[in-house]
Amino acid sequence: MNPKLIIDATDFAAALLFILGLKRMSSPVTARSGIVVAGWGVLVATLASFLEAFGVSPLAQPHLGLNLTLGIAALLIGVSWAWWSGERVAMTAMPQMVALYNGMGGGAAACIAAVELASPEASLPSRVAIALVGALIGAASLSGSLTAWAKLDGKINKTLYLPGQQAINGLVLAATVVLGVLVVSNGGGTGLVAAFFVGALVYGVLTTLPIGGADMPVVVSLYNAFTGLAVGIEGYVLQKPVLVIAGVVVGAAGTLLTLVMARAMNRSVANVLFSRFGATTSAGTSTVQGTMKPAEASDAAVNMRYAGKVLIIPGYGLAVAQAQYKLYEFVKLLQAAGVEVKFAVHPVAGRMPGHMDVLLAEAGVPYDMMHELEEINEEFENTDVALVIGANDVVNPAARTDKTSPIYGMPILNADHARQVYVIKRGQGKGYSGVENELFFADNCNMVYGDAQAVLVKFIAAVKELGQ
């Protein structure tokens, strides 16, 4: 059979499997089979792509043996490293791992562009220009994702912000685009192409460095969309429809998810990327009345044990303390005592979209106990205890009332509407936004100070002491 026909057929099958697989991922019941379906798509298309060896360009013909060896070696090394690292990464470290794998995809797209730009067939100016656009997005996604990875992983723990950062970023981008235009008009040139890639890589790093931790859900999702777009564009350059379809589907889905994340913070994507949070807005003018009232862990635990209904609001502090297992152990004790317990998850809690749900699922919390903001927010009215663990801005009532607050307008979980609120918190510090949280000073709120893991251990001991 004609090798080209087999490749086209497997590419078509892969595109179909991707769409079917992603569709299955929209429900927790079918999601597990979804990734397997999509997995077959990539596997089959990758194996079939070796048939390209039968139709390589005459210039590449003498190198075919070496190229095949290199291809197999790169596949084996890449797959085994990623498989090994993916199997052993902790769920708490998932945001940086997803960012890392995503950056690699952007890098691969940029490499495709580089190889194509160096081949004499790519002389058509329009095709060179399109390859460069994909290369710019892919390379910026690579270096940006790597920067996000380093920040999330604690390898860079400073939020670097130079004076005139936006002007510098703009200049780097403009210079990179000018280099791209020169590459198109000169029809290539190794030095120019190399300078172009350096510019794109530097731009990705500079844009990501100033972005703070709590904005990461938007950034991680945005770079995922960027890589998809870059893959789609290079698919056009290579005349490979499956890359175009997969890339554009992911690019569109990722863009929408990014917008959903930004909306959950009541900010625009541009605002997340180009302005430091709290730096460009006033930190709120209203002065908070009252004092924070501490509570003993054992008292809080006993109150929850005798409550009718408890809603738990997890935040990034839960991930930092790795307290998800202890939390579910405590929840099971409450349930055994007849307390109704639900989790109220804010869309941007954590460092990537849906981060808290993954952590809770890891600890064994069934997904029907996890509730989205819209569906649970009314329930705080008739809730006895709201337990806030390592979350801050997402429960700050100033978002509803204080027009001068930088978080004004952000949808929040109405923890303050519960009869009693307990907040597990390490100290008296402010949230990511730099705003005081009125909730912590409210009459119905008590603070349980300490590391989430340690506090939950005390909770568990206190409830166990009471017996059933």
Binding site: G71, M104, L238, L257, G354, Y367
Partner: protein, 96 residues
Amino acid sequence: METTLVGFIALYIVMLAAFTGIEIISRVPAILHTPLMSGSNFVHGIVVVGALYALLNAATPAQQVVGFIGVLLGAGNAAGGYVVTKRMLAMFKASR
């Protein structure tokens, strides 16, 4: 190089694929946002197929080096995205 994606045909594909992507994600509940993001991260790992194509058609040492890196990165994207997505989805269980 054979051209299959000519002018408007490519634009039609892009348009339909974009709508497909939006349709797929707009129905996903928030609890699955991470696996979905990670799953779509895996899907763009198909870039490895393009990188292999580029490497097999490499004619100079420079192209071979860059092509090798491209396949390496693409393979890492695909395999890593698959493993972490599968691991995360395996944890999502309904209550008994």
